[in-house]
Amino acid sequence: MHAIEIDRLTRVYGSVRAVDGVSFHVEPGEIFGFMGHNGAGKTTTLRMLLGLTRPTSGSARVLGHDVVRESLEVRRQCGFLPASYALPAHMTARQFLHYVAAMFDLEPDAAEARIQSLLRLFGIESAADRKLGGFSTGMTQKVGLAQALINEPRIVLLDEPTSGLDPLGRHELLEHLRQLSSERGVTVLFSSHILSDIETLCRRVAALHQGRLVAFGPIETLKREHRSANMDELYLSLARRAA
């Protein structure tokens, strides 16, 4: 069974086809790159995978669950970090993580233990009881990631997770994701327009251009097929061909 299976997924807003007949699949435990320019349809696809947006047509399954009919079960087993978000400024990091844990019905003791380990993992223990309103971008992103991992998810959907991070923060994040995948078998759907991050982290990718899937497969195979030396060349080649 594929971890994520998308079949001719389409979402139309008025006259705009935000996602247009996209099909691909993600294997369990892999870090899968999902690339495309801003507005290519990546975020809409991720939202549809979580049942936050209804597909106009097509279907998708996450861990075998239909994303429309069984969205709660999908969300129970997934972690999600949106591209653009705000954390409640009046809460501390610990309070916020407890709040999110309560949405998964985690017992307070189990939640506290989990929160403690996540705070340690991301190196933000000392800031745990500070109000989120005063957090830097990098710290906010770490809390964002911690909330995505609070339920020990089997799949993590990350939408532009490295944007706004400094080189060190970016490096640490990519390391965390590698560990999650290799040590815990977590499937990561890594959506980004930063192609170097995708090349560093992923073996296989899907590329969207103006809502359409323009490539899907192992990066090395795609590079060979398109005679591209690096990811930038590959993406430009794909985009030009699609245009």
């Binding site: 309560a102 949405m103 019905d105």
Partner: protein
């Protein structure tokens, strides 16, 4: 699993109980007491005018007409502010998407956020009603047209109306992106039931030959006209408000489930 989420609901309730209900409660009680002190100090002609205009008799009745407006206002706007914080602000500051990506249905999310707000408004209205019952006591007794039970009951009826309107307000608040656009809608919703009373004040002729309609619509004075029946009316109003609020919230949940996150 959705049946539990007890801890989540408790956390939502704890966040809902902030400064807004507390300030509303303190200001509300202060307004009830201040009104009770102010009305007897007004010139006789002013109170006589209000008696004539609202077809009521006695200082106690004049006092209550004013107190009811205060109860209605505080209970409603305390809740409206809470609803905007609970429903519109997460949409505005982009935290809604992250919250809704958790395994919690939109219905459960809505109820967990709206329930404590409605409860806080109810508490504000109930406490103000009880204080109104206390301040009106010196004006009750033989020959008086008002009673403590009538005053408290009427306060509860206005509270029930405020909570019902807040439940109705949930639907537009789920669709707006600007909290202050929501406030404007809230204001319109709040002021609409007061219009029949304004008509009684300036155009009483419009009610001529329509006594039943007048008795039904002129909120505030009508409860004083039927002071003895207020306990029964309170029970009916609470039941109607409960059912109506539930219906409005179910509708709100449906709307929320169909609302796109964009």
């Amino acid at each position: 699993m959705q049946a539990t989420l007890r801890r989540y609901r408790l956390l939502e309730a704890r966040h809902a109980v902030g400064w807004v209900p507390l300030v509303s409660l303190l200001v509300g009680v202060a307004i009830v007491v201040f009104t009770a002190m102010l009305i007897p100090l007004l010139p006789t002609a002013v109170n006589a005018f209000m008696e004539r205009a609202f077809l009521i008799r006695g200082l106690g009745a004049v006092l209550l007409v004013n107190e009811y407006t205060g109860i209605y206002m505080l209970a409603f706007f305390c809740g409206a502010a809470g609803l905007m914080r609970a429903l519109v602000e997460p949409r505005e500051n982009r935290s809604l998407e992250m919250l809704l990506s958790k395994p919690i249905s939109r219905r459960a999310f809505l109820m967990a956020r709206v329930g404590p707000v409605l409860l806080a408004s109810t508490v504000v209205g109930v406490v103000m009603s009880l204080v109104t019952g206390l301040v009106v006591r010196p004006f009750t007794g033989e020959g008086s047209t008002v009673s403590v039970a009538g005053a408290i009951g009427s306060g509860l009826i206005f509270t029930a109306l405020a909570v019902l309107l807040l439940s109705v307000l949930v639907v537009p608040l789920l669709l707006v992106r600007d909290a202050f656009q929501g406030l404007l809608i809230a204001f319109v919703l709040w002021i609409a039931p007061m219009f029949p009373t304004v008509v009684l004040l300036y155009r009483p002729d419009l009610y001529e030959g329509r006594d039943r309609l007048r008795d039904l619509l002129v909120l505030g004075p009508n409860l004083l006209w039927y002071d003895a029946s207020v306990p029964l009316l309170t029970v009916i109003a609470l039941a109607v408000a409960f059912v109506g609020s539930w219906g409005a919230l179910v509708l709100g949940a449906r709307v929320f489930e169909r609302t796109e996150l964009r």
